[in-house]
Amino acid sequence: MTEIDDRAALKLAIETYSAWDIGCAEQIKALMRRDGWPRAAVFAASCCQSDVLDLKPWQIPPCHILNADNPDDGLGPDQPGPASDGRHQAAQLLRRMLALGVSKYHPDPLAAIEAAEKRAR
């Protein structure tokens, strides 16, 4: 399995989110100044994944799953619950991503999975 490059994925997430519009670009810059690069980048990854996977606002993107084998890990009691927050689907997607060497922070998980599967053939 190839080494997963989380930093490259996070950089791509920031670029992708910043490209949405000037408001997003300004928002990410402000987040980087206030909270630092890593947190701002994870925020960008979360937004990009939620958008490209067409998630509802309360659904969890793959980058927020701490343990792909147990999606309940790290999720607080205020989460809606597995019936509606998509944690199992997020974990399922994350397992596929990790198995193919795709970073959990990739802003477009499905495209990255498809590209990795093509390379593997």
Binding site: C24, S50, V52, L53
Partner: protein, 135 residues
């Protein structure tokens, strides 16, 4: 959202904050009401001056849609055995509103989070769930 009276519209907003766009003089009374309702119920920074052309078109379409709806309510959808011409007017007005509301980020989908992207019939998670159910 109830329509505001002309007296209410003439009241100066004390808590203007960041300046909101003001309706251009070219708007009719009905269009002006839509404009003020819209601008005053969104954050001041939601609309930029560069949004004005789109915003004006949206207000025109909304007012026209309302007018068409009123005609259809009072005159009926069929007049003299033929479909009312207001049906086409309403359809076109609604179509304009749909397109403009996405670009002005007025629709729920467009509001979260600065979302410029296309819509799919089902989300990736729903498709995964469907796949699981069939296995």
């Amino acid at each position: 959202m109830p329509r505001r009276s002309s007296a209410d519209l003439s009241v100066i907003q004390l808590n203007a904050g960041a300046s909101r766009l003001r309706p251009p003089a070219s708007l009719s009374e009905a269009e002006r009401t839509v404009f003020v309702d819209l601008v005053s119920t969104n954050k001041p920074e939601h609309f930029q001056p560069s949004d004005m052309p789109l915003l004006v078109r949206y207000c025109e379409a909304t007012a026209l849609g309302d007018l068409a709806a009123e005609h259809l309510r009072t005159e009926g959808a069929v007049i003299g055995g033929r479909p009312s011409p207001w049906i086409v007017v309403q359809e076109k007005a609604v179509r304009s509103m749909l397109g403009l509301s996405m670009r002005l980020r007025l629709s729920p989908q467009a509001r979260a989070p600065n979302n410029p992207s296309r819509q799919r019939a089902t989300s990736a998670y729903e498709r995964l769930r469907l796949t699981d159910d069939r296995d």
